[in-house]
Structures are given as structure tokens and as C-alpha cells.
């Protein structure tokens, strides 16, 4: 009898350890279709690179990555999140590109006890009043990159800046972030229609108001349109253009070409950031995918490494949610950004740079770091967070 019980115990034990060896599922909800599809593609590819480098593991724990396309639609994002959590029993989610999708999906995820690690979107609400113990942002709070350029433009003694952004919440936040650190005068502040293609009218008005610099936030294709038309109107020769990194990633630069050369933009990362981790990442990404990584790819990669560090701490046992959370908070992973830690609202405390767009020796367009604007910069909303 004893022998039977013993063998049963052994059997059960081996079964449970067999379960432990089963890969931890990570659900990635991201934008792969629509014009903005390349953002999600880069986040995914950066994330996958980290898994491939670990030969199917993150932090030595085997993982399985499930990827679904939200098509930039909040309601679709919610459905995918629900499916991941209910059907696949996923407890770690990541991947959302856009703030409006994040606002619809993240609260639902964290309410049900799962973890969400944001590799991109960082809406102010989730950093302030809506912060949550299970929500971590490994990229930036939305305002951060704009703040850096605001600071830089002030330091460079520009005193009459023209501002332009699309008429939607992220556009207004962008200019608010810029103005938080910009101390000079404002030549004009224009909000355009979201998705606008032609900026001829705005450029004519802009030229007439004679600013000494222009700051714009137009993500994706809108930025391509604007930068091309800005150069075609000859404005790039007379009035320097500034923006956040979102309009100057390596894939947009490829589509814009010479028109963007010389533009200064704010970013928390750059392909030429000189740390051993970053050099290795950029080289590995180029080998794996045949293109230079964008900041989105670096964020996806860092998100994977962060998750790996916490998985290792709990040995892949997601039942230890508190230990997993504590491990995430430590942010003990080899970031490609040089320095990285979490503030108390689980948003990054990190260095932010300004970069200049250049054409390198091979004729490719990329960014070169000019200057570190902020050291250990955190966001403006941590005070509103009650954690």
C-alpha cells in the first residue's frame, strides 16, 4: 500500500514538474495591419529576437508567444485580450501600440489579475490616477520625448516656435509635454485633422508667421507627408524642424529620404547608443531581419528582457504573482538603453536624448545622438498615482 502511495506521489510530482516545464504563454496584442502596421511588426520582431536569442526561453524559462493583430481598433483589442486570458489562460500581456487601444484594454487586463507590460503606448491616465500594480510601461510616458525636445529648444535659445499636431488627445498631450519644458514664445499653435495628407495650407500660414523653429508631432504617414512637403516648400533651409522620434524612425526615414536630414528629434534610444548591450542588439537585429531596428523594436526587445528577468525570479511559476511583480519592479534586465529603472507609478526613469538625422556612409538614413537632455527623467504624472 505504502509503495502504491509513494509511486502515486512520485507520479504526481513528476507530472507537476512536467507542467512547470510547459512554456509560459505571453499574449501580444499589437497593430500589424493598417498603415501603422510596421510599428507592431517592429515591436513583435524585437520581442521575438529576445526569445530566439534565448532559444525559446526568456530568462531561461521556456515561453510561447501568441501574437494577434488589433487593427488599431480598441474593441478588437478587448476581444483579443479576453480570448488570450480566458481561452489560453495567458497571464502576461504586452504589445499594444496605440494609446486609445491601451486605454480600452489595459484596465480590463489588470482588473482580472493579469499583468500588462506596455512596449509603447503610455497615456497620461495610466501613469497618473489610473495607475495599477499590475501595469508596467517599459517604453515611456507619452509626454517624455516631447518634453526632451522642449528642453533642448529652450537651451538652444529658440524663442518663437510654431507648434503643429493632429486634433486628438495624443496630439494635445504632445504639445502640452513640449510646452512643459519650453520657455520661449509661441508663434502659432495649429491642430490639424487626424489623417490629413496635404499640409500646403498650413505650411503657407506657417511661413507667413515667421517662426524661428517648428515643433511638430504627426505620427506615421502624416509625418512622412509633412516632412516631405516642408522640405519641398524650402522651409528646411530657413527654419529648423524639431519633433519626437516617432516621425524619425529608420523606416519613416527610408520613405522620406534627404528631406529629413539634419532634423533634431527626441528619443530615449538610438541605434548608435554606445553600450555593449545596444551594439549587440542592433547587430543581432540587422542579422535576423535585414534592417536597422527602430525605437519600437528596441522597446519590444526590452519588454521581452524585462519579462524574462521576472520569470526567472519566480522560475516560471505565474501563481507567484506578488513575487513576479516585485521582480518586475526591480527592472533587473540588461536594457539596450544604458540605464533604466521604474518610478513608483511603474513608468520608466531613464535618460532622454536628442538625435540628429544623418545619412551614413552606406547611404542609409539613420539617427546620431547629439546630446543627453535629461538624466533619469521621470514623468509628470507619478504624483497622481496612489501606489
Amino acid at each position: 500500500m505504502q509503495r502504491i502511495v509513494l509511486s502515486l506521489v512520485i507520479l504526481l510530482f513528476s507530472m507537476s514538474s512536467a507542467w512547470a516545464a510547459e512554456p509560459v504563454k505571453i499574449g501580444m496584442i499589437t497593430t500589424l495591419s493598417t498603415k501603422a502596421g510596421y510599428l507592431g511588426e517592429d515591436i513583435r520582431d524585437g520581442f521575438k529576437l529576445a526569445i530566439e536569442q534565448g532559444q525559446g526561453t526568456l530568462g531561461t524559462i521556456p515561453v510561447e508567444l501568441l501574437v494577434e493583430d488589433d487593427g488599431r481598433k480598441p474593441e478588437k483589442g478587448r476581444q483579443i485580450a479576453e480570448r488570450f486570458m480566458k481561452r489560453d489562460k495567458v497571464q502576461i500581456l504586452t504589445g499594444i501600440v496605440f494609446s486609445n487601444v491601451a486605454m480600452a484594454v489595459v484596465p480590463k487586463i489588470v482588473r482580472s489579475g493579469a499583468f500588462y507590460i506596455s512596449p509603447n503606448a503610455g497615456p497620461s491616465k495610466l501613469a497618473g490616477k489610473g495607475c495599477d500594480k499590475n501595469y508596467f510601461n517599459v517604453a515611456w510616458q507619452n509626454d517624455n520625448l516631447h518634453e526632451a525636445v522642449g528642453q533642448y529648444v529652450t537651451e538652444k535659445k529658440f524663442n518663437n516656435v510654431y507648434l503643429l499636431a493632429p486634433n486628438y488627445p495624443a496630439g494635445k498631450d504632445a504639445l502640452a509635454g513640449f510646452k512643459r519644458f519650453y520657455k520661449g514664445g509661441i508663434a502659432g499653435e495649429v491642430y490639424t485633422t487626424l489623417g490629413q495628407a496635404d499640409y500646403a495650407a498650413e505650411l503657407a500660414t506657417l511661413r507667413a508667421s515667421k517662426p524661428d523653429a517648428v515643433y511638430f508631432f504627426l505620427p506615421g504617414g502624416m509625418g512622412i507627408n509633412f516632412i516631405k512637403q516642408y522640405a519641398q516648400a524650402g522651409l528646411n533651409k530657413s527654419t529648423p524642424l524639431f519633433g519626437p522620434a516617432f516621425s524619425f524612425d529608420e523606416r519613416i526615414l527610408k520613405a522620406v529620404g534627404d528631406a529629413a536630414v539634419g532634423v533634431v528629434n527626441g528619443s530615449q534610444w538610438s541605434a548608435d547608443l554606445d553600450t555593449p548591450e545596444n551594439r549587440a542588439f542592433v547587430a543581432a537585429f540587422r542579422t535576423a531581419y535585414g534592417r536597422t531596428p527602430t525605437l519600437y523594436a528596441s522597446q519590444g526587445y526590452d519588454a521581452a528582457l524585462l519579462i524574462g528577468s521576472a520569470l526567472k525570479a519566480v522560475q516560471g511559476d505565474m501563481d507567484k504573482a506578488d513575487a513576479f511583480r516585485t521582480a518586475l519592479e526591480k527592472a533587473d534586465f540588461p536594457t539596450v538603453r544604458g540605464s533604466f529603472s521604474f518610478g513608483k507609478n511603474h513608468h520608466p526613469v531613464q535618460d532622454i536624448y536628442v538625435r540628429e538625422v544623418i545619412k551614413d556612409e552606406q547611404g542609409n538614413y539613420t539617427n546620431r545622438i547629439l546630446n543627453k537632455v535629461f538624466s533619469n527623467h521621470s514623468d509628470a504624472y507619478g504624483g497622481e498615482c496612489s501606489m
Binding site: A197, A200, A255, G257
Partner: protein
Amino acid sequence: MLLFIEQLLNGLQLGVMLFLMSAGLTLVFGIMQVINLAHGSFYMIGAFVAATVAVRSGSFLLGMAVALPVAAAVGMIVEFTILRRLYDRDHLDQVLATFGLIFFFNELTRIIWGRQPLFMDVPPWLGGAVELLPGVHYPVYRLAIILVGTFVALFLYLLFSRTRLGMQIRAGASNREMVAALGVNIRLLYTLVFGLGTMLAALAGIMAGPILAVEVGMGESILILTFVVIVIGGIGSVRGALVGALLVGMVDTLGRVYLPDLLSVLFSSATADTLGASLSSMSVYILMAIVLTCKPAGLFPAQN
């Protein structure tokens, strides 16, 4: 004042761009009674093919010379294989089928070219700006767009009023059976008209390539305005498309520029900015509502 002239030119240029798009769409609807939502896809195909060829060969004109026939061929294949089956069906079926085509072409473009937006630059000989009036500098390329649009309008006018082919097309639009009975190959005629329509869309896409982002889904953003244009102009009327396009181009451009200023007379500057931005993005739709209230069939309703 000089700024106003420049803004008028901007409005004209946007109008001409919209005309290139809407002429093809309204032609196909007026003659073949088909609502073609995939019109924007041909705009995209034109831009993608032209951008690829232009970058490889370094010649914008060669890009155009390749892209136009390619787009026309794709259009005629679509007409031959898909739309031909839909002529006798309900408009709703046509909308459904052509809506599906949008997804098909977007995905196909993504498979062929990837998610990377393409690069396309203004050809050097059209680069830079000219001084039209003292103090009014205008990009040469945008003037070229206006010129191309004028030529197309002229070409369409001559085609329809002065040629035998144009006469057959007009006759086919008024009475399909009778024209067929008179020995005209109406099916071939329709395929040709559709090819012409797609070629015009592709031309708009090629001309837009150097100033806009050449990316998957680029056709959808202009398609909505194109529909506004043909509804304002009267569905099926090329003349209506011309007038509608210029109207929409002007209202959109001038609204964007001057509405916030006008409103700041009435409200505080913050309210005026927000209100102005929202109102100016609605201005073309308000225009459409006004036109439809006064003339429900559009400004120049087609005869049949």
C-alpha cells in the same frame, strides 16, 4: 493678400488632385452604374508601381510610363473577372464586392512590398519653387499637378464631345441594349471605360507620390473626399466632378486656414482654436449637406 493668393493656389491644387480621382470614379458610375469602392486601390497601385520604378531607374517619367498601363491592366482584369458579374446586381452587392477588393489589394500590396512605406521624390526638374507674383513663391511640382489636371479635364472633354468612342460611351450610358443592338461591342467598351477610370486614379496616385506617403491604405483617406466630390457634383457627371472637386479643394483649404481666425473674433483664442480645428475638418461635409439640401441630385446631375 499674398498669403491669400497662395492659399487659393493650394486650394486649386487640392481640387485638381481630387478631380483626377473623382473623374474616374464618376465616369465608371455614370456609364456602368457601378459603385467602385476599390477606386482608391488603383490610386495606391499607381503610386507603388511608379515609386518602385522611379527609384530603380531614377526617372519619374519612366515610373509614370510603367505605372499607368499596369494600373489600367489591373483595372481591366478586375472588370473582366469580377465587376462584369455585378452589373445587373444590386448596388449593395457591388459595394460589398468592391469593399472586399480594398482588403484584397491592401494585403496583396503588403505581401509584395512589405509594410515599409516607399520613397518617392519630386523629380529634380520639377523641384524648387518659382516666384509667380512678387512675394508669392510656389513649389513647381504643385504647379505641375495643376497643369496635369487641366490637361486631363481638357482631354476628357474632347474625348466625350469630339470622338466617336466618346459618343459610343455616352450612348452606352443612356441605353445599353440599343447600342449593343446597333453593333457596338458594349462589353469591350465598358472594359475600356473602366481601364480609363483606373488609369486616372493611378495618375492621381503617381502625382501624389512625391508629396505624400506611399503606403498601404493610402487610397482610403482620399477615397472619402472623392465620394464627397462626386456627390456634390452630381453622380455620373464629369463636369460635376470638376466643379465639385474645385469647390471641395477650396472650401477645405480656406476653411482650414481662415476658420480659426474668423472664430477668434467671436470667442476666446483657446475656444476658437478647438472649434476652428473641428469645424474646418467638417467644412466639406457641411458643404455637401448644404448642396444636397438645395440640389438633392448634386450640382450637375447626369442626364439619365
